[in-house]
Amino acid sequence: MLKQLGAFRLDATFSAPTPGVIALFGRSGSGKSTLVNLISGLLAADTGAVSLDGELLTDVRRGIAVPVERRRVGYVFQDARLFPHLSVAGNLRYGERRRRHVPTLIAYDEVVTLLGLAGLLQRRPWQLSGGERQRVALGRALLSQPRLLLLDEPLASVDVSRREEVLPYLVALRDRLSIPMVFVSHQFDEVLRLATHLVLLESGQVLAEGAVEEMSLYPELQSVVGPDLAGAVIEGLVTRVNPATGGAELAVGSGTLQVSLRDVEPGARVRLQLLARDVILATQPVQGLSVRNALRGTVIAIAADEAGSVLVRVDVGGSIVLARITDDARRALDLRPGNAVWTLVKAVSTRGHAFTLARGS
């Protein structure tokens, strides 16, 4: 798919399994929103094609361009765009009324419950907080019975302190509905919590795409999120919880990790990010340390990082962990691919990066 906008040129190809949550991730100006507008049809492509579940929505060469209003592609805009002359209920019903002839994927009452809108129905858009506005916009889009939901940085216009008024609802939608979502973001935290699949964009080009775990090891992603947030995303199975301390034990690879994690049940699969700067490597078992977690693994690669340090990739029995160590430390330990190492992680350093994963993903 190709689009020239002044000096900016978007040339992107990606496909993703449905259902699932695809994150379009990249710096601002990388073409994420343009790509979403091309999918919705609000922007006409110069060349290329868009297909959804096997149906062509756009194919420039064959002259196909299904009108936006007939695509059944929901769109949650950055600025919500609620209709100011209608109440919250009127906004929710707007899309629903216009899609009476299509099979109902989700009903009005279900949307109101799922998004916590019951107390807001009679209000006017200007009486809502930023987070509430986005929830109404989300509900309105869902009630138009979309086959695909596009979310263009739905949290960007919401105060940082109020993002929790929206994010958990997005997670709930992902887990409860089978509507595929394409989600634009430049916050890796949001991606980590929501996405199953990540498409990395830079200057209008797709740099890479894949599962979030896989993509977290990708050096270009680290250059986008910045060195401090670089780190492997791994999956684990909750084996034990201690409600008193808020700690949980996870099976990761062939070992176990103690993490701070509330509101999970044994048996849940969780995803967490171990920041590379918080991971310590040892060439032999260590004793007398306060660090609770030691995973045994093998070095599989060592890559240059920012000046004076290297990123070491360690296989801890199926899962891969990234550790940032100084070049001096690498030389002193004489680390090479194939070496056996102990990976040490403080329980608290995983805090805030552990999220319950969607069923089936």
Partner: protein, 231 residues
């Protein structure tokens, strides 16, 4: 000097109101359409249409009335066609006075409506599209309600101005008592007749009061609608 309003004033007032109401009723849909075409459509000659719509603002009203006579007079092509096919006669009738008023106040109305349309957030129309609204549906359910303050302002301003339209009315519809003698025409007639000073003054005061009332009503109405939209 002034007394209670007599039959002449009441008749002039009633005629002025009738002419203004019919004029607004006739031109409002056309003004919305014109505003939409001038704002949204891109076609060669748009500038010319724009200038044409605004012409009554700069032309002598007598010239507008004269052009209307040339087009809709009893023997003029459009005038005789309307009479033969629909039995409608415009020249020297109340309907003709309303037409002349409509033409004169049209630019005022279009300007107000156009301003309102330009302020409608296109993003909201895009949102409506993604929710399944086709173009006409979008216009009726989103664009039109959001333009409402401007449409009301345009209609009330045109109504207030229409109460006092003089030159085009007297040229095209003449000064027939009870048919086309509206407030300003009655005022003019009173001024011309010996001993009509008191009547002229009463008519002038009435015109002032009506104009003020109209403008205040427009402002209050627009404020109320804006408040509903959360502006």
């Amino acid at each position: 000097m002034t007394g209670s309003p007599g039959p002449a004033e009441l008749e002039a007032l009633r005629l002025s109101l009738e002419v203004a109401v019919r004029s607004v009723g006739f031109s409002l849909p056309l003004a919305v359409l014109t505003a939409w075409v001038l704002t949204r459509a891109r076609f060669p000659g748009r500038l010319l249409l724009d200038a044409f719509v605004h012409l009554p603002l700069v032309l002598p009203p007598v010239a507008v009335g004269y052009v209307l006579l040339l087009l809709f007079g009893a023997r003029a092509p459009l005038g005789s066609w309307l009479r033969d096919h629909f039995g409608i006669q415009l020249a020297f009738t109340t309907a003709g006075a309303a037409l002349a008023t409509a033409v004169m106040t049209f630019p005022l109305m279009v300007r107000a409506i156009r301003l309102a349309l330009e302020n409608v957030d296109r993003g909201l129309e895009d949102a409506a599209r993604t929710l399944g609204a086709a173009p006409l549906d979008r216009f009726l359910s989103i664009t039109l309600p959001l333009m409402l303050p401007g449409i009301l302002a345009g209609a009330v301003t045109a109504f207030a101005a229409g109460l006092g339209e003089f030159g085009a009315v007297i040229t095209f519809a003449a000064n027939v008592p009870g048919v086309t003698r509206t407030l300003p025409l009655a005022l003019y007639t009173a001024m011309q007749s010996p001993g009509g000073d008191a009547l002229a003054l009463r008519l002038a005061i009435l015109s002032f009061a009506l104009g003020l009332l109209g403008l205040l009503a427009a402002e209050l109405l627009v404020r109320r609608v804006r408040r509903r939209l959360g502006g």
